[in-house]
């Protein structure tokens, strides 16, 4: 249904989703309430959760070590519920820039960062990010010097990835909440850098 209330036929995938959901409910495998709760929970997860992890790593060197050694445990340490997520944090340095893609489908750390942006699932991003990452990053407005190595991580199997960006200059003395406010979703995918306004 659209805003005008005019009838719109279901698209192929809407029809498939509705049919499958109704079958599962009819067979007593899930209830409508459970489906609604899961959708609500999915919408409630936002990139702010990941930003909290990044900000903590910026202010606490020991935490950063634990994050790079086992990012799943490091998230849980902050009380973030991330069921089943096997998270790998990859660190940007003056010599290395990391970026994440899933060429096979659209694997993304949803339980940490929420619903992925549409471009992340596009054929354009998925096919070109491994083939010409510098050109793709430039289209996002991010120009990486040739002296910096680009590491593209193709998320093909059981791991999910979080880019740990570098803390920008001009944030000296900021507390974690303020630091987290400049850590964007795109910075944690590796197609942007945190900036100080």
């Amino acid at each position: 249904m659209n805003d005008q209330g005019r009838y719109q036929p279901f698209t192929y995938y809407q029809l498939m989703e509705t049919s499958l959901r109704e079958l599962l409910v009819e067979k007593g495998i899930v209830t409508h309430e459970q489906v609604d709760e899961e959708v609500a929970a999915m919408r409630a997860r936002t990139p702010e959760r990941g930003a909290k992890v990044v900000a903590k790593a910026w202010v606490d060197a020991e935490y950063k070590k634990r994050l790079l050694a086992n990012a799943t445990a490091a998230c849980e340490e902050l009380g973030l519920e991330i069921p089943g997520l096997r998270l790998v944090a990859v660190e940007n340095t003056p010599q290395v820039h990391n970026a994440i893609v899933c060429t096979l489908c659209s694997c993304y750390p949803r339980v940490l960062l929420g619903i992925p942006p549409d471009w992340y699932k596009s054929r354009n991003y998925r096919s070109r990010m491994v083939r010409e990452p510098r050109a793709v990053l430039a289209e996002f407005g991010l120009r990486i010097a040739d002296t910096v190595q680009i590491r593209v991580h193709d998320s093909t199997a059981d791991m999910r990835y979080l880019v740990l960006p570098m803390r920008p200059k001009g944030t000296e003395g900021w507390d974690e909440t303020r630091l987290a406010s400049i850590v964007t979703r795109d910075a944690m995918i590796g197609v942007a850098l945190p900036t100080v306004a």
Binding site: N70, V88, L104, R131, D146, I150, V152, A157
Partner: protein
């Protein structure tokens, strides 16, 4: 070798260690394959052992996928993957690949 994530499935023993040169098998079986086409036949280096996980090719057929198979992150030089790659020679792509897709290079 220390795996990044411990799992408690019955698992095959890891055959490779960090730094080993490996070649991705250049084969094209049917089914649900998590090894991208573009990397098959290419040579890279083991970056880390992620842990051992049920074989996705078997899981997709509603089987158990056990014993679990060691899963590695393999680092490839972009210039080796794409001969006409335009960036600097240091650029890399890192991909998770299951052990049965890898052979010693």
């Amino acid at each position: 070798m220390q795996a990044q994530f411990e799992t408690d499935y019955p698992a095959l023993a890891p055959r490779f260690k960090v730094g080993d040169k490996v070649k991705v098998r250049a084969t094209a079986p049917l089914g649900h394959i998590r090894t991208p086409f573009y990397i098959r036949g290419h040579v890279g280096e083991i970056e880390r052992l992620c842990g051992s996980f049920p074989n996705p090719e078997e899981l997709a057929q509603m089987r158990s996928g056990l014993p679990a198979i060691p899963l590695y992150r393999v680092r490839f030089k972009q210039k080796e993957v794409w001969p006409d790659y335009k960036g600097p020679g240091s650029d890399v792509v890192e991909i998770e690949i299951f052990q049965h897709w890898l052979e010693k290079a």
